[in-house]
Amino acid sequence: MNQRLIDAFERCMELMEAGVPLEDCIKKYPDLEPELREILETAEEVMNLREERVPIEPMNRNRIKLLSQAKFLVSNGRQNTSISGVNWLVKPIRRIVDGFSSMSPLAGRLVLVVAITGLLILFSSGLVITSAKSLPGDSLYPVKRVVEDISVRLVPNREVRSEYEINYSQQRVVEVKRLIELKRIQQISFEGILESMSSTSWIVSDIPISITSDTTIVGEHGGTQSFLPGSEVEVEGITNAQGWVAATEIHLREYKFIGMVDKITAKYWQVSGIQLLITSRTQIDVGIREGDDVTVLVRSEDSGLHALAILHDVRPITTPNMPQPNLSTLMPSEVPAPNTEEDHQVSGILEQISSNYWVVGGQIIYVIGDTHISDGINIGDSLSVNYKVEANGSYTAIEIEKIDNDEHPDEYQPQATPESVDEGDSHEAAIVTTKVDDETEESTCTPEQQETPELTDDH
């Protein structure tokens, strides 16, 4: 084919698009005149087929129809297709493959061949097998964890997947023991059973753990009282040459707490500010609504807190003579009951007053008819609360006293909220408001009054 003719045609096309008449274009290539004229005339005819106008009305009609159909599809929910189970794998692969199509055919094929070859080498050269023996800190360790993740995800059966997860969890324990044997210093995390505990050291799955003042303990009551031998815990820390793990954080894997339902969605609930993932296995009492008090049994997972059960909090609030239901019978698993005979004390800022509980220093404390409450307490006051721990793990206030800030200026300063730290004025405003409220004659406050403190009017 005459390349010069093709190039001349292309140039003439550009000129004709710009408004140059066909004859003028042909004059530029007199030696190609007959062939060029024929092909340009054909092109001109084809050009005339083009319809520049896009009908607006049908376009708008179609958009409305499309949106209506989309709404219908959304209301019907997305269909589960055969590939949806492995969509996490298929989607990126298809994106990569689509990416190849944007390259020239040869380059695309070349990259694809190289990628496939690389993968074959990766998987056939024993890399995966070698990585299986690696320990945290080794260069191949990430490969090992990725392979584990993939194998867990590819298992379609839930029971088998659970077995895989347990096996890999045990693998973590073995790895930590090996690191201790090798006296390597390495950041680790593992899950295990709490076997024994003292004030400074615990044993978790035969691994000695040192507890220091820097160790964060995450459990039912924010302390170690809910940790008992036999509890399933997750330990994060650093192995050392002395043969133990210096714990930075220890989670109780399963615990319960009482709170108020803030928000309910299909995938998660928010209870007293804590977001809980809801799964198909979560046991939820019928009729729970936002604002209700609930007892929640949670399990700490890598993906977040999974709600195992959300149950109505049916304990009596203002009538102390009402018999206490045994909530442990409602629990899906046995949770050891704390010592209910012993009185405890907590001090903190009064953050919220609800109809049946107060929030003091972030802790929910239930208030009953027998609770002795000092006069003149308002939100923002520093309080000292004597309480007892109920069989279901909740706190019931016995006595609530206001702490005079002047007597303990260093110990009980009102806590600044994150916002007030940024804005010094608002911090001052909060303190002033407390003083103004102190001057009022009312000794009790309704929840509505407490939830909407009027700052601006008083100033």
Partner: protein, 209 residues
């Protein structure tokens, strides 16, 4: 035959490969992400952006605007269904839409050719989609008749030739855009286009030109 099957057939014979630039791919990826949520605003924006191209493609190939509108509507409806079934585009939305348009146009002509007929030579004359009725005021228009014959001639080209002619003349895509969409080099598109026009000239002969 489904769109993907059609595409597979095209790919098998190396004729129909769409691609886009990395930059456009990034824009389209974000569009696709929004589309996957079936978000009304995203759907509306995508429809407004691509409808003219889809309609333009269809209108260039079929003789009446109502059929072109139907084809364009069908394309977007198929897009929604594909997204709903997790079989939608993953990176190249424009390519997916034009590919689907090309498939539906081909199906449209295939249906016309396979309609029960008494005489194969009368297929096109009996087709209401391709032949204007006697009552139509434009039936005597030379231009309309020429366009009809030209569209029939285009439909007889090879798939790649049809595509290059439609993208270049119907959608006014540049050589580079057409090359990217078809996954070929610009010089290849030049040659393909030239051969397509030559083939058209030969098919039409003295009837048209």
């Amino acid at each position: 035959m489904s769109d993907w099957q059609s595409l597979a057939t095209y790919n098998k014979i190396g004729l129909h490969r769409f691609g886009v630039s990395p930059r456009q791919m990034s824009v389209e990826s974000s569009e696709i992400d929004l589309l996957n949520t079936l978000d009304p605003q995203a759907i509306s924006a995508i429809h407004n952006r691509y409808y003219p191209e889809v309609y333009g493609f269809a209108r260039f190939r079929v003789s009446d605007e109502v059929t072109a509108e139907d084809i364009a509507a069908d394309v977007f409806m198929r897009l929604l269904e594909a997204v709903h079934n997790s079989r939608g585009p993953y990176s190249n939305l424009r390519g997916w839409l034009l590919r689907t348009t090309a498939n539906i146009v081909n199906d449209h002509f295939r249906r016309l050719y396979t309609r029960p007929k008494e005489d194969s030579s009368e297929v096109l004359e009996n087709s209401s989609d391709l032949y204007l009725s006697q009552s139509d005021p434009v039936v005597l228009s030379d231009l309309a008749e020429r366009n009809r014959l030209l569209q029939l001639a285009i439909d007889k080209l090879t798939d790649a030739q049809k595509l290059v002619i439609t993208l270049r003349f119907g959608n006014r895509f540049s050589l580079e855009e057409t090359a990217q969409l078809m996954g070929k080099k610009a010089n290849t598109i030049k040659a393909l286009q030239f051969r397509a026009l030559e083939a058209l000239r030969q098919k039409l002969g003295g009837d048209l030109l």
